[in-house]
Amino acid sequence: MFSEMLRRLWENGILQLGIWETIYMTFISTAFAYAIGLPLGVLLEVTDKDGIAPKPGLNKVVGIIVNAFRSIPFLILMVAMLPTAKFIVGTSLGNKAMIVTLVIAAAPYVARMVESSLKEVDRGVIEAAQSMGATVMDIIWKVLLPEAKPSLLINAVISTVTILGYSAMAGTIGGGGLGQIAITYGYQRYNNDIIWVCVILTILIVQVIQEVGTKIAHRVDKRNL
């Protein structure tokens, strides 16, 4: 029922490695994408005209940059960013280079997700903090981020799944993982069963991330007691 190729991929540990590479690329990229996207999202929300420190000019500029990156199709952005990857990690091939391109592609997306989570925080609570003499930094660290935590976590799950999808595409331009296995051993060598196994494995990984993430988000939310 299964092709010889699939059996060999499994026995040589290539499939297992692919699973691991997908997971590790996804999580490393998500972590770095948040390292850039979280502050960017906070900046977008805080400097908004209804934000706690309105700076319309800065907000506009950052907004345009974020939108520009988000409107480029991922595959094109990835190819375009390969020289940048080479500059940062010394190579334009392999998982390290893919992580760089994934981070650049995902960070603006994460920024918008963070911004939308922060917008959910009740204006009245922010006003209460202002009435107590809270500084902008106080409000960011003690009100916006903690109060938005459950929503930030839910959106982090969505971002992770999106980045996992991007990471599969990275397989076409030199990255590893399940996407690369599906293309190289499945699509290009006419082994449909390999494509399907990769698809099913990807679905399983997404399911686990989604389930666990949602549970955590629900558990930390003190509104659900």
């Binding site: 009740d122 609570v125 009435s131």
Partner: protein
């Protein structure tokens, strides 16, 4: 002392400028409970926010203890706000923090150490009778309990002023009463000046010393609660204070008089004495009286017997005991 002079506030909206406050002049004395009443949209929430500069006035000054709030730098303003507590209609507690941490919040901002802050927070929770709920989260509390936490939080940095923006408007009657009792108690114990914004006359009635009536961006009336209550001058004050007095249907024949209680001793049974003395039946068509400090204020609409001589006897009696009345058509 808070002195507001020549304050105007205009918002720029898509439909052109919107004047929300016009030439507000107000002095609030230390230690009093000062009420600001008006219908929704009258500008009262904006006015209270001009006090702690959550809204910047367009023109005019707000001088608190000699400092003009409108002229402070951002940093000085943050410092000054720590001496002005504020509570809100929607409580505005931090939902992801427990009760104790909510009360600690303003102290964290002011740089008070954690140990000291928690000790003070427990004292405050004790004062609002919620020390047993210190570890609960806001979602586990009722509206009244949330507002008590908010009061404890507002008082954490020992403010000299407490601004209450429709603090009881989301609460039922019994809970409103308990919140008002706490505000009164805190005012008496700590001497904090309380500024109460409301559209409910009963709130003013229960705890305020003085009241300003706000109507369409202006202060139309200001004075001691008992005075404004018994003798409202402006239409809006009349509407707020005597809402049911309008539109009473004429029921029957006979003369009607409106008698006015202007601070008579509340223990004197005026109507019973009138009936006994004049030996006439009277029909009470409407009454709205309130007792303040053992004195009765308000008015009552009486229907007198159809016979002229009996009606005259009633009028003479009222004259003799010094109760004001007016004939109604």
């Amino acid at each position: 002392m808070i002195e507001i002079t020549g304050l105007n506030k205009t918002f720029q909206t898509a439909n052109g400028p919107l004047e929300v406050l016009r030439d507000i002049n107000l002095t609030i004395e230390d230690g009093e409970i000062f009420g600001i009443i008006g219908l929704s949209g009258a500008g009262k929430s904006t006015l209270v926010r001009c006090i702690n500069q959550l809204e910047r006035p367009t023109t005019g000054s707000v001088v608190i203890d000699g400092k003009d709030m409108t002229k402070l730098s951002d940093r000085e303003l943050l410092e000054e706000r720590r001496s002005i507590g504020m509570i809100f209609q929607s409580f505005n507690l931090l939902e992801q923090r427990n009760v104790l941490k909510n009360v600690c919040f303003p102290m964290e901002i002011s740089g008070i150490g954690k140990k000291e802050a928690e000790k003070r927070a427990m004292e405050l929770l004790d004062m609002v009778k919620l020390s047993d709920r210190a570890k609960s989260y806001p979602s586990q509390l009722s509206g009244g309990q949330k507002q008590r936490v908010a009061i404890a939080r507002a008082m954490a940095t020992r403010p000299r002023y407490l601004l209450c923006d429709e603090a009881t408007s989301a609460l039922d009657t019994a809970t409103t009463q308990s919140i008002l009792d706490i505000l009164r108690e805190i005012n008496e114990k700590t001497g904090v000046t309380v500024i109460v914004i409301t559209h409910e006359m009963k709130v003013i009635d229960q705890i305020c010393d003085r009241v300003a009536v706000l109507d369409r961006s202006r202060i139309v009336e200001i004075g001691e609660v008992s005075k404004v209550f018994t003798n409202p001058q402006s239409d809006i004050a009349k509407e707020l204070i005597l809402p049911q007095a309008k539109g009473i249907d004429i029921i029957d024949e006979g003369e009607r008089i409106r008698i006015v209680f202007n601070g008579e001793d509340s223990s004197r049974p005026v109507i019973s004495n009138l009936v006994l003395e004049c030996r006439v039946p009277v029909n009470i068509l409407f009454a709205d009286t309130k007792v303040l400090d053992g004195k009765v204020y308000g008015h009552m609409l009486l229907q007198l017997p159809d016979r002229d001589r009996q009606a005259e006897r009633v009028r003479n009696y009222l004259d003799s005991i010094g109760i004001d009345y007016t004939r109604e058509d």
